[in-house]
Symmetry: C2
Subunit: 267 residues, 2 copies
Amino acid sequence: MMITGTTRLFGIIGDPVAPLRSPALFNAGFARLARDAAFLPFEVPAGDLPAVWAGLTRLRNLDGLVMTMPHKEAVVPLLDALGPTARLTGTVNTVRRREGGGWEGEMFDGEGFRDGLERAGHAPRGAAILQVGCGAAGRAIAFALARAGVGRLTLHDAAAGRAEALVAALKAGWPSLEVAAGAAAPAGHAIIVNATPLGLRPGDPLPLQPDTIAPGQVVADVIPKPEITPLLAAARERGCPIVTGRAMHEGQARLAAAYLGITGWEG
Amino acid sequence: MMITGTTRLFGIIGDPVAPLRSPALFNAGFARLARDAAFLPFEVPAGDLPAVWAGLTRLRNLDGLVMTMPHKEAVVPLLDALGPTARLTGTVNTVRRREGGGWEGEMFDGEGFRDGLERAGHAPRGAAILQVGCGAAGRAIAFALARAGVGRLTLHDAAAGRAEALVAALKAGWPSLEVAAGAAAPAGHAIIVNATPLGLRPGDPLPLQPDTIAPGQVVADVIPKPEITPLLAAARERGCPIVTGRAMHEGQARLAAAYLGITGWEG
């Protein structure tokens, strides 16, 4: 596919952008669909988002954007309308033009993770799940797990009060949900989820002690790159089925593509 | 070439962008050079340039921009430094990051036209040239023809006073230059240049009466698309050598690529 003057633009806003998989994934999709469109990395430091937003949204040939760290919450006040999951989580990962003007956004990180987990053969319905990390991605994932009918959910975050706040938000939406803040202790859970950014950078500490994981427990990670994080490597060594960030990422991309009107994504 | 998270960005800001050849030309160049870079069309209405500029220049992975209609003059006050031709013409077609911060711009439309004309075998040195159109592109071309040692230059513009103002500006730089404002009358000139936008859109009037062109006079056009404008078609029918906007455009691209640090452009 060659970019010409008629090519429609899409992109992802984040910092850093070098490790992101979305550009390769979407451009491969556009090539497969023979669609005259390109998906670009836009590297934007946190404080620059309002100015960049004002500029990019004035490009008449730009049709949509994916938002990633550190912009998933910061973009919310810049939008003219929010989808239901964006309203619930206060975060957005995909934005598009509204008919009649302005921009609207929705959050697919959680549903993308859930979709990837299910396609990997590990449905969250009825399962006991430990989730470490309750930031923007973690919030979205917890809501998606609740919506999917998780059996019991334990939430942990190193920052004081964050897990408790998410428990309260989940209880408000699903009063009978079995959810509690707790230690990063895998025992008693069928699925362990890392929703922290730990593992993205070399030398990061592990999000939990790997020797507390038992063979047979499913370990899933949200980190897109490296695909096999130190946590997943340790889990695999202990005989655990693993689900990499790629599964979540492909799930997000499927849902974002549909939201952005990119039809035929899955052939 | 596949765009990924590490791909460096370049682009052209204009309106409309669909007819522009720069994206295809630069992306073919990047592919030839195996350079991890992409060149994008950015469609920006005239009044939106300041906001778009503030946004795009904050993209840390954007290295340079080409400016085209209607932004070649409007970008000048947004820059931190200007090259010599940009200062002379008050117009800019290429911008890049400065070492130490900020952005600088230079104007290559005129030198690109001159370069294309020479490569087509029609050196302006010593020649009598009629140039129709004294807008931003026309000003740059006239300065490049003066610098190249044109023998005699006749300038015409449909807007009152525009040709005369350009004559005065040229005389200030080259006091002994033989240049005058005059009618759009080819007689007595070896080379006829269309530097107006007439021919870009279907149904445009011709920039001059084609039946006043004599066989053997060289007719050159700045319009990038259609490559054979109605003026060039008429000139070719009358047995005139023609130089299309492609020659100018490839000349501009060579000079812009060098300014943007894209080495090895011509293999």
